[in-house]
Point group: C2
Chain length 362, copies 2
């Protein structure tokens, strides 16, 4: 029997939607009431399809359900792979009353959401995230898109899902490296906005890494709630929402440098948060022991805390120059104003940034 | 001196924007107040660039103005050409405070608008339409997008411009065939919603074809006003807005059949309106003399009134099956409920449609 453990709503007026967190939901939770037309296109990848596609199809009894299976990996988050979704929709003659369903991790969710935003100028979509990273972060908040050779997520749209269905059972098939990557974003919420949650994570990290279902559901719920609160206040990232990018500016530079798919997004964010904490300490915003606390929790989650060996400060500067947060050529970073409190700033001292980069680059 | 002849507002709440119609506006009307950042990317094509790009650049004194020149033609309204805009934006390091400017016809406007909708998940843009078709139709209302091999405008977004600047002087360099194509959409407004305007057009058609500036400005103003009213009531085409597609379902089939760029969009719409009038007459909605009135005004505008010679009824049925108006596989068409009144219907008798197609196909 499906067991719903937590429920919450992302409050966005007429675009509000529920997040349902539980066990045995996949294939057992009927989702037809979230579909307005008669057609559904489930988008997944070749890793997830053998595990969960049949179950996902079973969630839409009585409807025309078509599927498209993409290759797995961030390196496929590009236009030509996206176009396979459009090909499938047009070949199967899906009208603009169709509903898309993203079944998979962040890449599948971002691409399916963007396809939904663009197909016939916009159709609804449903998020069924199957990785920890996508469950706590990318499936919530409506950011969708693809990569461009010159920058990650440079082409996309804000497009909110109809519902997010999170089945923690899908985490049992996830490689440990992917669990760690998801924990990077979980830790992030504690660092930017919720000191209690950070303390809880320090206490429960071993259970989380060991895939304790109850602990995971709790961590997912608290992460989604944190993200939902921020998104409700600033849907289109006019200001506050940017704090969700703690560690992401350094992290994106690492991902781009390494080549899409080499470092997992969460791994890059883990290292990025350590670098952001180092710079925050140099700026006098947090203490050395607090910085060490960041390093410790990142390590305990099984995440790397140093960038690729050959990467230089110049590589960072060049790659960070195209970050979306930048305004009129000025680099802007998310730093820790204190533990549990993030700030977006373009005012950090260039010599402090240079020192951070020099310490982390070999 | 710039001379503003008409001004109106597209009323869309916080997305409202003005349409300014006049003479000698290009290069003389300062547009910097419509730009929020310091960067502008003007997108145009290789036909328009030699004529008006310098003037357009002069409209943004004191800003970083970059330009990208695309090949001219509907056959380039695809992803790879769109990507040249993203390449230029990223190479010149445009932030998400940049403003895009569409300088050209409908293809440039649709692609620039879609690039603006997607670049870093959405940046503002300005429309400077230089063809009659784009001045009376595509620059107003926020429909943006590109073609897919399986269907026109299948990938896109609703994204409203900051302002539409219409300089009727740009029509003096337009080939007569393009003037006729624009007049197809002008006639459309008379047919679907404004019988007075239709009568005015029957009276003034010779002046319009002869490029009388005052008559053109009046026709553009009344067309934009009609479109603005419809868009204000139904921005995302939930219902009413679909009437703007009179002649477009037949027309899109013709364009796809002929291959993008062979028939001008307005030419296909001209023939499509004649076919829609024929079907409306068979459905008993308008009289034979009223149908003839449609044929006459389309011919007087210099537009074709029969589809490509080798095109069959089966070609039409196949190509119309992917139209965006269709719901769950059912063909929907815009017909004339009466002269000056359009209706969207899925209820026309299949034998009437078959007869219309058989009469128009050789």
């Amino acid at each position: 029997m499906p067991e719903i453990l937590h429920e919450l709503t992302v409050e966005l007026g007429e675009r509000s939607y529920p997040i349902i967190i539980g066990r045995q939901l996949l294939g057992r939770q009927d989702l037809t009431s979230w579909v307005s037309g008669h057609q559904v296109m489930i988008v997944t990848n070749d890793t997830v399809a053998p595990l969960y596609l049949e179950q996902a199809i079973a969630s839409f009894p009585g409807l025309q359900v078509d599927t498209v299976v993409l290759p797995d990996g961030e390196q496929y988050k590009d236009w030509s792979t996206l176009n396979r979704i459009f090909d499938a929709l047009l070949e199967k003659r899906h009208s603009r009353k169709t509903t898309l369903v993203a079944l998979g991790g962040g890449v599948v969710g971002d691409m399916t959401g963007f396809a939904a935003a663009c197909y016939q100028r916009g159709v609804p979509f449903i998020q069924i995230p199957t990785t920890l990273l996508s469950q706590v972060d990318s499936s919530v908040g409506g950011k969708t898109g693809i990569n461009h050779p010159l920058g990650k997520n440079m082409i996309g749209a804000f497009h909110q899902p109809e519902i997010v269905l999170i089945d923690t059972d899908s985490l049992t098939t996830l490689p440990p490296r992917e669990i760690s990557a998801g924990l990077a974003e979980v830790i992030k919420y504690g660092l930017i906005r919720d000191l209690d949650f950070l303390a809880w994570l320090e206490q429960e990290m071993d259970r989380l890494v060991a895939l304790d279902a109850e602990a995971l559901a709790e961590a997912i719920f608290r992460s989604c709630r944190c993200k939902a609160e921020v998104v409700a206040q600033d849907e289109r990232e006019g200001g506050l929402r940017a704090i969700l990018n703690l560690g992401h500016t350094f992290g994106h530079a690492i991902e781009t440098y390494a080549g899409y798919g080499k470092w997992l997004h969460g791994e890059a964010v883990g290292t990025g948060m350590v670098m952001a904490a180092d710079l925050s300490a140099r700026e006098g915003m947090i203490t050395e022991p607090e910085k060490t606390r960041v390093v410790e929790i990142v390590r305990r989650a099984g995440l790397p805390d140093t960038p690729p060996e050959a990467m230089t400060p110049d590589d960072f500067m060049r790659l960070m120059a195209v970050d979306k947060k930048n305004v009129d050529g000025r680099l802007r970073l998310v730093l820790l104003a204190a533990m549990g409190e993030a700030v977006v700033t373009g005012d950090s001292a260039p010599e402090n940034l240079a020192q951070t980069l020099s310490v982390f680059c070999h």
